[in-house]
């Protein structure tokens, strides 16, 4: 009631017809609600908001718009100066041409196969390791965990060469296991999973033990069902990472019928017209953008929970 009265009073004073709507404040930040809702505060706020919206859309959405419309333009229109903002005669030809030229069907299938296979291997290896370290507590468990975490300190590019040499020695070139096994050696996943498993109440496990359940049974029917959130986060990150990976597949999957889509694109990009390249890029981005739309909340949560607590 008071606020309505106050609003009516200001309206009367300024003699305006439309009452200025206060900006809602749910949580306090640097700028105080009072300052924000002062006359100048509100003006500055709307100016900043508009500027940020325009800037962000230009910087992050417009390049994607340009990619999509570039793919829809004919090669002549694409080379035209100044460029057209809307494609004059949009045709999806570039997609079909790109699809054939790059053999995108095979590349996508390969990439999907490597991602899914990598996910299964990674989950099997990391979940069982985290379970052993968290619930079975073997001798030297902490040393092993420490050594696994220590690998996170070693930058990926630095061990690229010896890892490649190792894979060559094992004869794993052009074999999907060369992608899957190194990815499964992920100390971070094991750490995240172990930390979550640690938080599962002991009583739950003990009750299952009294019922005569063995370790495998406990993992399957007690631990895994309650760990859905963390399993989801780890799964999404594993799949997204393997889909985005470039340097490692470039080295170990060299046969043209075994390449991933990123590598395949990089190899053919110089030899085809620009609108076909854009078509190929668009097709490559679509799976990740779909994943992002579906799992947005999990990805954002995982990013912040997974990194370090603030």
């Amino acid at each position: 009631m008071i606020s309505v009265g106050a609003r009516a009073a200001t309206r009367g004073k300024r003699g305006r017809k439309r009452s200025p709507r206060p900006i809602e404040v749910q949580f306090r930040t640097i700028v105080s609600p009072h300052q924000l809702n002062s006359r100048w505060g509100r003006r500055i706020y709307w100016i900043v908001l508009t500027a940020v919206l325009v800037l962000f859309t230009t910087a992050f959405v417009f390049p994607l718009y340009w990619m999509v419309t570039g793919a829809l333009k004919a090669p002549e229109e694409l080379a035209q100066m100044p460029p057209t903002f809307f494609p004059a005669d949009p045709t999806p030809d570039a997609f079909f041409e790109a699809w054939d030229l790059f053999d995108i069907g095979t590349l996508l299938l390969n990439t999907g196969y490597y991602s899914l296979g990598g996910w299964i291997v990674c989950m099997a290896v990391d979940v069982s390791a985290a379970y052993a370290l968290s619930k079975l507590r073997p001798a030297f468990g902490n040393v092993i965990l420490g050594m696994m975490l220590a690998t996170l300190m070693i930058p990926a590019m630095v061990v690229l060469i010896p890892l490649y040499v190792t894979v060559v020695d094992l004869g794993l070139l052009n074999n999907p296991w060369a992608l899957w096994l190194p990815a499964a050696a992920n100390g971070f996943n094991i750490f995240l999973l172990k930390r979550f498993f640690d938080s599962i109440p002991r009583e739950l496990i003990e009750a299952a033990q009294i019922d005569g359940a063995g370790p495998v049974r406990i993992l399957r029917s007690v631990v895994l069902p309650v760990s859905r959130p963390i399993l989801g986060v780890v799964s999404i990150f594993t799949i997204v990472t393997s889909f985005k990976d470039f340097v490692w597949p470039l080295l170990v999957m060299t046969d043209s019928d075994k390449m991933t889509i990123s590598v395949g694109l990089s190899q053919t990009a110089g030899a085809v017209t620009q609108n076909q390249v854009m078509g190929g890029l668009l097709i490559t981005s679509i799976p990740m953008i779909i994943v992002f739309f579906i799992f947005q909340r999990h990805i954002m949560a995982g990013l912040t929970a997974g990194s370090i607590k603030g």
Partner: protein
């Protein structure tokens, strides 16, 4: 007896992970060390050559330039990719509208495969009909050579790199900012602190650890820059964008000289381990 059995089951569950880590993580670290003292092309038997690989690496005319470029890239990428996201996060945290949209949009490039971002920007940088020069032209500015001139090539790489990576830094900062207790701002305000002072005396001290941690992480990440020079410039023009990781890749996979690549890798590893050690200490402090 029971203890033995429990340990056996535990190691049963662990054996797959132990095998993976041994072969694909721990052994390669040792192998890096061995490799840097060997001459090998992966076909003939490796020969021990002592410090020869390090000497070869040092004598490479591109060696000094590669380190300088890497440092310059790291510095520029920190200015763009470390400071800017913090400012962006500060502003985003103040906004009350379109929050979900803005967070979504800033993270969108992070989801794209890096090759997409890189090839997309290669097209934007095109000196002829490329988008960037067209925009400059629309404002009546002279065109730039972007990737083709040694003065702009490196910064062009920094721009791509920042565009595709800044989303995750921004969101991590944003999460840290949202953890700051509002009472602190209220108290500061009662003490008469203006907006700048609130940032200096509340926001920055409260996010100090994450700021330092991100600094270390970003240094380690940007010093390994590879895909941008590999796809966009091939190290050129005139070695202006040769980075250490790129040089290492070249030595190994173009010249088949895995030994000197290993030596370069060792040097990079030693430099990066210093930052990793800092990071480790900070993480400990964070937990304490």
């Amino acid at each position: 007896m029971q203890i033995l059995r429990r340990n056996l089951t535990a190691y049963g569950f662990l054996c797959a992970a132990l095998a993976c880590f041994t072969v694909f993580a721990w052994y390669p670290m040792v192998r890096e060390f061995i490799l840097s003292f060997q001459k090998t092309d992966l076909i003939n038997e490796p020969i021990w050559v002592g410090l020869d690989n390090f000497v070869t690496a040092f004598q490479d005319p591109a060696f000094g330039e590669a380190w300088l470029n890497t440092l310059e890239f790291t510095f520029l990428a920190l200015v763009c990719g470390y400071a800017v996201p913090f400012v962006v996060a500060l502003v985003l945290n103040e906004l009350r509208h379109a929050r979900a949209y803005l967070r979504f949009v800033v993270y969108l490039p992070v989801m794209l495969p890096p090759i997409v971002a890189v090839l997309l920007f290669r097209w934007f940088y095109d000196p002829g009909p490329g988008l960037f020069n067209q925009v400059l032209d629309a404002f009546g500015l002279p065109p730039l050579a972007w990737l083709d001139s040694s003065s702009t090539a490196l910064i062009s790489l920094v721009i791509v790199s920042t565009w595709m990576n800044m989303g995750s830094a921004t969101l991590i900062y944003l999460a840290a900012l949202q953890n700051i207790p509002p009472e602190l701002y209220e108290a500061a305000e009662l003490d008469g602190a203006g907006i700048w002072k609130r940032i200096r005396h509340v926001t920055i001290p409260q996010t100090r650890l994450i700021l330092l941690l991100m600094l270390m992480l970003q240094i380690v990440a940007t010093m390994q820059v590879f895909i941008e020079p590999y796809m966009l410039t091939g190290g050129g023009p005139e070695n202006a964008t040769v980075t250490v990781a790129y040089l290492m890749f070249q030595n190994a996979f173009t010249l088949q000289d895995y030994g000197s690549a290993g030596a370069l890798g060792m040097m990079l590893m030693i430099v990066l381990l210093v930052f990793a050690a800092f990071q480790l200490r900070l993480t400990r402090e964070d937990k304490a």
